[in-house]
Symmetry: C2
Subunit: 347 residues, 2 copies
């Protein structure tokens, strides 16, 4: 922790491993498939750990992420996104399909047709809006889209949703129940159109521990493998389960504060309305990052003597997925350096 | 614009060039040195354009950015940041000093001593807090720090500030006056300690056109070369002066909205309290990006027929500096592809 120039991301491999195994065990014990979302880590070493722990395939957000993980040896990938499959993405998905089992999300007739034109017979899941109101069809409309996709020659395997509204204090249990209800309705809707939903896939780290098996056959949490300040403040994860920090240097005491060299270009700028700051300091739980610039974090100190200028502090990012995407490398407590191979893989 | 997979950043080189020359002419006409902040573009081609237009050197935020631009042939660099110069940064700054004139910001005795220990005689500017209350000493304290730095053997050239509180509607003129007053006080404070402030350097794009010469000898705007939705909504820049957009694809009409594949990992998550959304659509000025996820922008449409799924739209990021840092390349309207060489150069 002394020599490497700051800011950099440090992964505690013991905590990482414990997180990977705990979630895999939870899923396995309930007969669920764990398919972690790899947008969180974008790193083959973490993917391999998740698969070794018992995960059955990975989830990704883009074709480029899928390509990066296929390159890293992953053979079962779900693009949980209503991908617009133009000829470029079509060619890339066909190449990918020769190396890995590939499933794609759909939430529109247009999207399904474009996919079918490029990849006849491709396995798909219909995305369902379970209350987050971002993408996905209404649960009762899932069957119509599924039937249409089936008629275009796609292989409809089932339904999925992302309950992003679970990112609110105290919301997890209720949102998990909402997601189960939405997925159950969607499964019924597929049934009315003569299509069996063999895969029923739910998302999100806050809801991952809730709702037992319910209707779902598969879970897709992402953040859980590292955890972050959002999960800490939501109560989803204790600080002892946080596997990734940004190591930063105190550069100034201006204004009576502690200024760190880790700003929005090292931590990300995500800040939910309920968050207490722009990340947390695990060794100083009462301190708060009250302001942020690209290369500055302004820490309102906790009343104890301020750490000296030049000393180093650990910062937990609010949202680990965006923090990792800002770095080319992750340094580990074992002294290894992992390349974030899917960093910036947005296409 | 048809073939390249989305999302990607597209630079209009005509507008870019007009912006670079307009600001350089404004400065030159007033006998000011323009030293643009290169954290905005992180790209040698843009730096060369700025220097060709009349800029005198560049500003950077980190040693790694300075290294990237020195590699690109820039020979005059100001690190406008209270850099903590540990032995690693000391060695890198010494190597850099052999290729370029280097100036470093200081805002503490500790920072000045660490720098002097590594780079005796290094040129420095004292950072002054002109009302943004982030880094920098109080203006009347500038002389004490300058004298201390001088005694440690540093070459004190003057003072600088960053008036970041100019990023508020209607604030630019008043904040520019505040900055001038703070810098004037700081210059006087140096004088009381027998040190002449030969360089008096002010920052920020919103204030760049204000305050005429006043006390300043140098200006360091960054965003102006591209402009962005923040400058548009602040009224600092008209939409016709925006030189960079993110090209995105419509992937869904879920919820009656227009969903784009450019989320926080392509645009950044910056959103000031006064911003009307997470970026703007120049071709649909009444539409608003009301929600954002890592790979989704949810656009509340403007009442006109929604663009088809699969069609492409242009999005102006809220804060162009963080958007550029998320991409490895900038595509230009001339068909060139520029590498963002200083992307992620945080150390």
């Amino acid at each position: 922790m002394r020599d490497r120039p700051t800011p950099y991301l440090l992964v505690d491999t013991d905590v990482l491993s414990a997180n990977a195994y705990a979630m895999a065990r939870f899923a396995t014990d309930r007969g669920l498939r764990l398919r972690p979302h790899a947008k969180t880590h974008k790193t083959p070493e973490v993917a391999r750990l998740q698969l070794a722990a018992g995960a059955g395939g990975l989830t990704v957000a883009t074709v480029a992420e899928a390509e990066a993980f296929a390159e890293g040896g992953v053979t079962d990938l779900f693009l949980a996104y209503p991908v617009w499959v133009d000829p470029d993405r079509g060619a890339r998905l066909r190449a990918l399909s020769e190396r890995a089992a590939v499933r794609v999300g759909i939430d529109s007739v247009e999207g399904a047709r474009a996919l079918a034109a490029q990849l006849p017979g491709c396995a798909v899941l219909v995305e369902v809006d379970s209350g987050h109101h971002r993408s996905g069809v209404q649960p009762s409309d899932a069957g119509v889209l599924a039937e249409c996709a089936d008629r275009t020659g796609l292989d409809v395997r089932g339904v999925f949703s992302f309950p992003g509204h679970s990112y609110a204090p105290g919301a997890a249990a209720e949102v998990a129940a909402e997601e189960s209800a939405a997925l159950r309705t969607a499964v019924g809707s597929l049934g009315e159109h003569g299509i069996e939903a063999r895969v029923v896939s739910g998302g999100s780290t806050p809801t991952a521990w809730w709702g037992a098996a319910a209707v779902r056959t598969e879970r897709r949490p992402g953040v859980y493998v590292f955890n972050d300040a959002q999960q800490w403040e939501l109560g989803t994860a204790g600080p002892e389960t946080i596997a990734l920090v940004c190591v930063a240097t105190v550069v100034s005491h201006a204004g009576g504060n502690v200024l760190l060299d880790a700003g929005s270009k090292a931590l990300g700028a995500d800040r939910s309305a309920w968050a207490t700051g722009y990340g947390r300091l695990p060794d100083h739980p009462d301190a708060r990052i009250t302001r942020q610039a690209e290369h500055h974090a302004v820490v309102t100190w906790d009343g104890s003597p301020r750490p000296e200028i030049g000393s180093r502090l650990r910062v937990v990012p609010n949202h680990v997925c965006v923090a990792v995407n800002l770095h080319d490398e992750l340094v580990t407590t074992d002294g290894d350096v992992w390349t974030v191979t899917a960093r910036g893989a947005n296409t």
